[in-house]
Assembly symmetry: C2
Homo-oligomer: 344 residues x 2
DNA sequence: TTGAAAGCGGTACCAA
DNA sequence: TTGGTACCGCTTTCAA
């Protein structure tokens, strides 16, 4: 047992600085090289069992933790997959998706890091991410232009994937067909005989990335028909919903695609409070298939969205990392299925 | 304009390796030191304007991005604040909290990183975090024991803060009084004349961190009275809710604190479908004050929760970082207010 | 079986 | 005003 100089009793936990592999080596009476071999279970070199024991013991004793930056600096690469942390309040769909992906990438020995990009935009954000030298980056297409992709690749990222409705030059694309969501919902309303269709567009910032293409999809669905689509801005609060409901009759609408289930619930309640019958006077459909929509009366029709399984996406990332030269792939990753319940 | 060797046309974006400050220096015809001075706007040294220009131009030309690991290795510290990424599907409350905190810490020049700890537990997780040498760590108290705190501090973390009902030795504590939530909700039911009170405990994994103390608080609220508290396991799906509702009369309960608003909505709907009157046959109260609870009929009573403002918490982190020796502070950070609406 | 030493990319001190 | 250089912590040949 080696003697460790005791810290003063009143300050047990503020050592001058973190122990390094040199400290471990000193304490174990070996060289830093040996320490590295032992702690990394290097199989290229044979280290005697007693030595291994001494090294491990010393490391434990000192509370040694390797320095990731030093390691990856030396290695020339890391296993870090970087994603920007969402700037919008993430729904259950997205947070489940991220959690699953994290787990799956973890199984592949990657470390997922969600980077809190406080407002940095465009190439500036890409540069900030690139400073960490991640081996892969998965970001919303809206946060990353072709130049951003180039910056990341130049600084060593072996795979860049974007998530969004449009592909970005140079990056693998996970295509979330938001237009398809709007199209599906609106076609459903049309098929059920509705002809004057409102489309809710949230007033909240940050949601336009999703709401704009959904509106576009709605327009596509009625193009060339006798039906019309009317854009309905709506803030996520009861007052605004009530105001919109009060305007319902003058607007002359007979149906609404409410962006998602939350806005749909908000609006449906306001319409009902206004004395309107759902779906008689107004058919309502949301999106996201939240559990809560099933609990309303009438039950809320919705568009069920399916994000890819974490395992599959993790495998895709892994392949992309192993073959950085490959041509960018495009994958549709947003399965959209209309669920007709009672509100439409 | 300097000539750059062209990449082969079919491989435009896979340079052998990332440009370093040495590359920039070479291209600009200066030393690495000068590059560093210029790009960091070092005010201790005067660099001529033409030189600055040449350096900047070269950096732009090469798409140079500094290497964060190398920098922080040399500096001996980073500005990284690490938080574990939530393993449970985060609610709007928590994701708003994180987003706000990220923004506020960003203003203070910190970089927030959510680390995807795939399943690693206890000290193992702490060690993984410590490898990144974050300057501060903010983690759920449930993920971090006293030994974990010690590991982090030993490896250079200047501030460790935990979020949870109980403080952890050596770390600053942000005390989320979940017991108070259960106590408040249950006392409210008691005050409204209810005596046989059910408390929903989600069957889902990962939620017990919150649900256990809420149940405890409920028990505290009725201790020494003639009222009883009954634990009601409930999975988040309609079938299980229906089964529970069917057992309602035999259970002989007259009220329920349903863990949170989502479980409350689920259960309330099931109770109503069972022909029970809310609040007549069963008073229901949730927690979290989701917008959607206000839309139900009857309107859902709830416990409004208030997390601290991101700015305040960021300031606390900053203070803790600047004074690592200070005694651990304890702050109550979960304001809980009962909102009586119509369901109770 | 182990150790000495080079070097990853940047920074900052000291000279020139 | 600029350049040379030591060094941060770790890995990995190459020698011993």
């Amino acid at each position: 047992m080696v003697q460790i100089p005791k810290q003063p009793a009143h300050e047990p936990s503020a050592p001058r600085s973190a122990p390094t592999s040199a400290d471990v080596a000193r304490l174990a009476g070996v060289s830093r090289a040996t320490v590295s071999y032992v702690l990394n279970n290097a199989d290229a070199v044979r280290i005697s069992e007693p030595t291994r024991r001494r090294v491990r013991e010393a490391a434990r004793e000192l509370g040694y933790v390797p320095h990731a930056a030093a390691r990856s600096l030396r290695a020339g690469h890391s296993r870090m997959v970087l994603m920007p942390a969402p700037s919008f309040p993430a729904g259950p769909l997205y947070s489940r998706f991220v959690a699953e992906l994290q787990w799956a990438l973890g199984r592949l020995e990657y470390t997922v890091v969600q980077y809190g990009t406080a407002g940095a935009h465009g190439d500036e954000a890409a540069r900030a991410w690139a400073e960490l030298r991640p081996v892969a980056v998965l970001a919303p297409a809206s946060d990353l232009g072709p130049r951003g992709v180039e910056i990341l690749k130049r600084s060593g990222a072996r795979a860049v994937l974007t998530l969004g409705p449009e592909p970005v030059d140079g990056a693998h694309a996970l295509l979330t067909d938001q237009e398809g969501v709007g199209r599906g919902a609106t076609r459903h309303l049309y098929d059920r005989g509705r002809r004057t269709i409102g489309v809710v567009v949230p007033a909240e910032r940050g949601l336009d990335v999703f709401s704009a293409p959904r509106l576009t999809g709605a327009r596509q669905a009625v193009a060339g028909t006798d039906a019309t689509v009317t854009e309905l801005p709506l803030a996520y609060d009861e007052g605004d919903a009530a105001r919109l409901a009060a305007r319902w009759r003058p607007l002359g609408l007979d149906a609404v695609f409410a962006y998602n289930d939350e806005y749909a619930m908000l609006l449906m309640r306001a319409l009902q409070d206004e004395g309107l019958d759902v779906p008689g006077d107004a058919a309502v459909i949301g999106a996201d298939d939240l559990m809560l929509g099933r609990l309303l009366r009438p039950r809320l029709s919705t568009v069920h969205l399916e994000l890819p399984a974490g395992r599959d996406l993790a495998a895709l990332v892994d392949r992309a990392v192993h073959d950085p030269g490959a041509a960018p792939e495009r994958h549709k990753v947003l399965g959209a299925t209309v669920l007709h319940r009672e509100s439409s």
